[in-house]
């Protein structure tokens, strides 16, 4: 059928739906729904990791294969450094920029290396906002409790307390750098309500929050003259005699040469794994989200945690074909947008946590109440025109200019027509285990941002990622910088690979692949 004919049911049922209030599920119902429909509970997608710090722990097959992967660095590799620095930051997204800026401000010599350009990241795409408890009726404690609830009580309490308490000072830092957060009439920061949060707590820059923050941070990295190594992909870390981290080896993607950097501390800010397309899901992630940092840290002996849980953002675009996997911001549901099945019914409280909403969308589709496309995809409607109906014409355009433009490019006006959506692979809830200074089990190896684990428990709350990046980017940068003055540069070896390789051999030479992946293999080979 013509898409417009199918959309009619959304228009016809809108008035009736607006009178409805849908309660949130009880804890027992939530658990049951998630266990039945959430992709994290598809047993066959998982297998135990065979060796290394997390031997026996289960994760998705795609990630296990890479974690067991061999290093591209052979014995006898020439480890003469091309560069020497106090702090080496790997990754140019939000956490990487924050780490580099704070380390630099503390007086350290900093190199920031990234496999794409400075700023190419998921951070730049963050639309929903940044959770910081600034409203009088809110508090860091409430932020803590909301996050804990959203994370299924599995969050590391110390990490979480640090994040919520440092949030307000992060907002002040960003404002001082010139970030233009939305304001109320009295000049105070405007806060929006996000999924899973009991109080309005999202700071926003219309629906360009991540872009605005990243424009400013990138500009600041350049203003501070931080040395950049762009298009340089980290392929291995180095260790000293004690097994502490002492630098990294890169592949320059332009000329294919190896680049060795000696560093007193290394901060991995390499982001997530969306481009591994686990369980065949499309993804909202950027081109380089291939989990490189996880492989590097794992080979050096750092323990990972919560790597069996991933976030599927409820509203990834399903139509048109060109936008598959692209995010339709949660902000639309925050402002009252309904999720509607093929029968014109709502089926979940749209502001429940992401895992609950995603699971319920999958349930609708599996039970035959989805809308299919001829390319074999399935989804439900997000009633975007509702916003203009409820809050006056022009609301969508004013509040969600980025979303409007993205669909307008394909001739779709989402203020008039609902959008077809289905969960898309969005975020890695877990990652490398860190302490409150962002340091891993391996001394002088720090991990900040999405690549780290523990903070978000088993489900990250909307708006907590941008804050995570800023807080733990800062902590890692400051800790690494403070240490630099009083420590010598460790020796550069790849001694840790010996043990890793003999373990791999014991397990039948493990997966037979070389990791990290660096970029997804999208190029068609003939």
């Amino acid at each position: 059928m013509d898409i417009h004919a199918l959309q009619q049911i959304v228009h016809q049922t809108r008035d009736a739906r607006r009178k409805q209030t849908l309660p949130k599920f009880s804890p027992a119902d939530r658990d049951q729904l998630i266990h039945k429909y959430h992709p994290d509970f598809r047993e066959r997608a998982y297998r135990p990791i065979r060796f290394g710090p997390n031997a026996g722990d289960k994760t998705v097959v795609e990630l296990a294969t890479l974690l067991e992967g061999d290093s591209p660095i052979a014995d006898g590799f020439d480890l003469t450094p091309d560069y020497t620095t106090d702090v080496l930051v790997v990754g140019g997204g939000g956490a990487g920029c924050a780490a580099a800026l704070h380390a630099r401000a503390a007086g350290a010599k900093v190199i920031l290396a990234t496999k794409l350009r400075l700023g190419d990241s998921n951070s730049v795409m963050a639309q929903g906002g940044m959770q910081i408890s600034v409203a009088p009726e809110d508090s860091p404690v409430t932020h803590f409790l909301d996050t804990l609830k959203g994370g299924h009580m599995q969050n590391d309490h110390q990490l979480l307390k640090v994040m919520v308490e440092e949030g307000p000072s992060i907002a002040k830092w960003l404002l001082g750098l010139g970030v233009l957060f939305d304001r109320d009439g009295d000049g105070n920061l405007h806060v929006k309500k996000g999924g899973g949060s009991s109080k309005p707590r999202l700071l926003t820059c219309s629906d360009y929050t991540g872009l605005e923050i990243m424009r400013v941070l990138k500009d600041e990295v350049l203003n501070q003259n931080i040395q950049l190594l762009e298009f340089c992909a980290a392929v291995e870390l180095t260790s000293d005699e004690k097994g502490n981290c002492s630098g990294a080896i890169f592949k320059d993607l332009d000329n294919h040469r190896d680049v060795v950097v000696a560093a007193k501390s290394v901060i991995l800010a390499t982001g997530g794994i969306g481009r591994l397309h686990i369980q065949g899901f499309p993804t909202s992630n950027h081109y380089g989200a291939t989990g490189d940092g996880l492989c590097l840290a794992y080979r050096l002996g750092a323990k990972l945690m919560h790597i069996d849980t991933f976030q599927y953002h409820p509203t990834g675009a399903v139509y048109p074909e060109q936008l598959i996997g692209a995010l339709v911001t949660e902000g639309i549901r925050s402002e009252g947008g309904h999720l509607v099945n093929a029968k014109g019914e709502r089926f979940v409280n749209e502001l429940d946590t992401r895992d609950v909403v995603s699971s319920s969308i999958i349930r609708e589709c599996e039970e035959g109440r989805g809308i299919r496309t001829m390319s074999g995809r399935i989804g439900v409607w997000l009633d975007t025109p509702l916003l203009d109906v409820a809050q006056g014409p022009g609301t969508m355009e004013k509040h969600f200019p980025a979303m409007m433009l993205q669909f307008e490019r394909f001739g779709i006006d989402i203020s008039k027509d609902p959008v077809l959506i289905y969960p898309t692979l969005h975020y890695q809830n877990g990652g490398v285990k860190i302490d409150t200074n962002s340091e891993t089990d391996v001394k002088n190896l720090f991990v900040a941002g999405e690549a780290s684990g523990g903070l978000h428990g088993r489900n990250r709350l909307m708006g907590n990622s941008l804050l995570d990046l800023m807080v733990f980017g800062k902590r890692s940068g400051l800790t690494a910088a403070a240490r630099a003055a009083s420590m010598p540069q460790g020796k550069l070896t790849v001694g840790h690979l010996k043990g890793f390789r003999s373990e791999a051999k014991k397990h039948g030479s493990a997966s037979g692949v070389v990791s990290p992946m660096i970029l997804p293999p999208y190029t068609r080979k003939e």
Binding site: M1, D2, L6, L116, R117, D120, V124, M125, S133, V134, V141, L145, D146, K149, M153, H157, L175, G176, L177, G178, L180, R183, G187, N188, L189, S198, Y208, G210, R215, K218, D219, L222, N223, N225, F231, H286, Y287, Y319, E321, Q322, A326, C365, E366, G368, G370, I371, R372, T373, M374, S375, I378, P401, A402, L405, Q406, R409, L420, T523, R524, K525
Partner: protein, 237 residues
């Protein structure tokens, strides 16, 4: 999939009648499926993409490209991850352009509106050709923004350029050698850092945390057993 109801299937003629089209990438012809994005067409035609792809979501500006459609003399700009290919299209990715970025310490500027002319002395030399506005894939009225910056209306510039993905396509076309995106970035940051009200509520909250206003509550919560904590969380509505 239990759904056998033929009624709920969206027509996609492009999927039904899968059609190949001929496009030109940097002057070479390739056959690719109609309707895929330019970035996907690069992958389809066997090219390794390192430079020229970033977020793949239309936000990072890495994939700025020029294109021309069949028989149309007009060369247009786009973000290659957001543009579908069509038959007869000619495409070239934009190379990185060596525009000059001024360096500054945004927080210690004394007179940001005057400093604009020291940092970007070319900004007031706009000759009104409007090429920057035509080049913008985000549909920003770039020329108007440059003039507003020069006249000191920093607030309007910061609002107009909120959509700017820093792709830099406004820069090579400028006959006055202005880099409008960089000018706008400076202006927006100055607007935020110097001309926007300080949010008093934020300072209050920071002070409350420093003064330990929440310490009792923290002490209570962090002492709780898992069960008590779960019950307590359930009371937060």
């Amino acid at each position: 999939m239990a759904l056998e109801d033929k009624e709920n299937i969206i027509d996609q003629p492009e999927v039904l009648r899968h059609k190949m089209v001929t496009i030109e990438i940097a002057g070479k012809k390739y056959e690719v499926p109609e309707g895929i994005t330019i970035i996907k067409a690069l992958w389809y035609s066997g090219q390794e993409v390192v430079r020229g792809a970033g977020c793949l979501g239309g936000f990072c500006g890495a994939c700025a490209a020029y294109y021309r459609t069949k028989d149309d003399p007009k060369v247009r700009t786009c973000l290659a991850c957001q543009m579908a290919v069509q038959d007869g299209m000619s495409i070239t990715m934009m190379p990185p352009f060596p525009a000059r970025k001024a360096t500054y310490d945004i927080q210690t500027l004394k007179d940001p509106k005057q400093d604009l002319f020291n940092l970007y002395p070319e900004a007031p030399l706009c000759r009104n050709c409007n090429a920057c506005t035509e080049a913008c894939p985000q549909k920003i009225d770039v020329r108007e923004g440059v003039w507003k910056a020069v006249f000191g209306d920093f607030k309007s510039v910061s609002e107009m350029f909120m959509d700017c993905v820093m792709c830099g396509m406004c820069t090579p076309v400028c006959i006055a050698d202005i880099a409008p995106n960089l000018v706008a970035l400076y202006v927006s940051r100055a607007q935020g850092a110097h001309f926007t009200e300080k949010p008093l509520g934020l300072d209050t909250r920071i002070k409350e945390i420093q003064d330990g206003r929440f310490n009792d509550e923290w002490a209570k919560i962090l002492k709780m057993s898992e069960k008590e904590l779960a019950d307590h969380c359930a009371t937060v509505k």
